[in-house]
Amino acid sequence: MDSAVQATRDAVEALAGEKYKYGFVTDIEADTAPKGLNEDIVRFISAKKNEPEWLLDWRLKAFRHWLEMPEPQWAKVSFPPLDYQDAYYYSAPKVGKRPESLDEIDPELRKTYEKLGIPLKEQEILAGVAVDAVFDSVSVATTFKKKLEEYGVIFCSISEAIQRCPELIRKYLGSVVPYTDNKHATLNSAVFTDGSFVYVPEGVRCPMELSTYFRINAAKTGQFERTLIIADRGSYVSYLEGCTAPMRDENQLHAAVVELVALDDAEIKYSTVQNWYPGDENGKGGIYNFVTKRGACRGRNSKISWTQVETGSAITWKYPSCILQGDNSVGEFYSIAITNNYQQADTGTKMIHLGRNTRSRIISKGISAGHGAQTYRGLVRIAAKAAGARNHTQCDSLLIGDRSAAHTVPYIETRNRTAMVEHEATTSKINDDQLFYCRQRGIAEEEAVALIVNGFCREVLQQLPMEFAVEAQKLVAISLEGSVG
């Protein structure tokens, strides 16, 4: 096996078994805007980033709209009202200028990423993973840029993209998730600070996995990344994001927006391994993960595939969706969500079939343990013009213990009689026969649960890029700790 991949695995292995392994805080001087949210903060962020006038206007429109918007109420989650004024909206590690090479990165920051097992070193880059790392709000390093440039692939922070290719940004930013979309996305539009940008030119198959690691470090800091990926005609890209945050008693808001655009014959594979701090055993602290992810299959024969492994966060609220505009386009959603202790998750997808012969596939695996509660919420909409559209949905819930809960809320709207929509759902409890069988073979109860759950999730885990599938399996095990006995 590749040594870099091995190194990443070893790093994970060394950390596995601890309670929440990313709960350290990095001591870094930060450049922070005053607390609170108002138009001046929006202007401050935009000025910090040296943005063009139109973008500031767009942010301000979003901000004004946001003031009027109600909080979304449909999700089956509960939490006290958010105090938007009691948070910081901009916190950047002080590094003067952006590092030219990896050696220039603040050693403290490097250490943090090493603890996270993120491959920033050149040798690890050979693993074929290009990493963009977003620390609090600012992208600190994008590795392996040269190689990508040879292929014409642009992979950089969105701040950099705003300077480098403003036309692309202006054309596509907000084109999939408009600033009026929902309260969290609208807030993001007003105050987003960084995130990743990818452009894959026509006919190019991106030569490596692209990857971003997000980390919330500063206290009372919201994280509002904005990611935009554009796959031009006939191109392909696979992108993975991983997320962690330190342990803190207060809840922190993470309201990201991800927009994907696939043109004719293009394919985007987007994978997420989300391990934000989930709060403690009693439900204190943890990240509010309120995220809007949406992909537009604009072109004919285009494809967007979402894979998510959601093990962290106190509350997860996200519905990675596909708008299937182009004829014959394909949308996929593969999801594993785990809620343990007092975690809550309301997650699912929307597949909007607009074009003819569009197809979508949904596989959702929900695991609930402790007092965990989760809801699969999905919408499959077949528009009148979407002749021959097909959807297959499979939703499986697994309950561990007798205080956990699972709900399935599928909405199906069909306006075309030639469409075929299938929905299967199961709910089961972790099987005592399986547990006993494993234990008779010497496998301790907690490991047995992890093994069985990994089996339950296999169809989804298989969708992850190889290097990350192993990490995801470990995460499944770690997040179920304390769920039995």
Binding site: Q434, Q440, I443, A444, E447, L451, G455
Partner: protein, 249 residues
């Protein structure tokens, strides 16, 4: 090696075993025969530590250790192996993953080095060949969609990998054709050793033509009602269990 004294077991308040005694010495093979529903599987589950079986009286010792005080995985580490009458399916978990995790858990508990993927494969393949199993069986999910015979072979494979001190085989013969029966019996016989014992539970005498027992016991009405040599198995095959079902006059 294994000593069971005056074992009483109830399930949901109903008495299944009452006053069961058994003494299995090192290297011995004991057969337990009995009619359906007499409590043979109950005995095997109690020994392996399954939940839901209430031991209301009695003692069980394995190599002098109080077996009943141990968790199922500790019993496995101590060398107890149960070949299940109905092996359990675990969808999505590759058989190889399961077998290796099991083997390494037991090896670790016994103070041995864990095997890496290559070492494990080598070890598993050698044993699979003897059992007439193909590599494909390692890739498939644990017991999922296996035929009856494949499941039983997979149990024997695990037994040969884990090298137990005491192996309990619960009707491993049922559902096997003669060829498969011979392969399974060869697997067991190949493991026979002076420091390893077997409790072979069976409904039929047939298996005992291949695995020749030192002692044969008849389980009925919650306890052993008769013990003897291998001839007893043949006798039961002729006369049936009816005589043992009614309380002794």
């Amino acid at each position: 090696m294994l000593t069971i004294e005056n074992l009483h077991v109830a399930v949901d308040g109903r008495s299944i075993l009452s006053g069961f005694d058994l003494d299995v010495g090192p290297g011995e093979v004991h057969a337990i025969m009995g009619p359906n529903g007499s409590g043979k599987s109950t005995l095997s589950y109690v020994l392996a530590g399954r939940d839901g079986y209430d031991v209301t009286a009695g003692r069980v010792q394995l190599d002098g250790q109080d077996l009943l005080a141990m968790a199922p995985e500790e019993r496995a580490a101590a060398g107890l192996f149960l070949a299940f009458q109905y092996p359990v399916e675990i969808p999505g978990v590759a058989n190889a993953t399961f077998l290796r995790q099991s083997l390494n858990a037991v090896r670790k508990a016994r103070g041995l080095d864990e095997l890496d993927a290559m070492q494990f494969l080598k070890s598993a393949r050698a044993r699979m060949k003897l059992l007439g199993m193909t590599d494909e069986m390692l890739k498939r999910s644990v017991n999922t969609g296996f035929s009856g015979g494949e499941k039983k072979r997979n149990e024997v494979l695990q037994m040969t990998l884990l090298e137990p001190r005491l192996a309990i085989l619960d009707e491993t013969d049922s559902g096997l054709d003669v060829d498969a029966l011979r392969i399974v019996a060869d697997g067991v016989n190949g493991l026979r050793a002076p420091d390893r014992s077997f409790v072979v539970i069976t409904h039929y005498q047939r298996l005992l033509d291949y695995i020749v027992p030192d002692r044969v016991h008849i389980l009925a009405r919650g306890r052993i009602v008769r013990s003897g040599g291998e001839d007893l198995a043949r006798e039961v095959e002729r006369t049936g269990y009816a005589d043992y079902l009614a309380p002794a006059a």
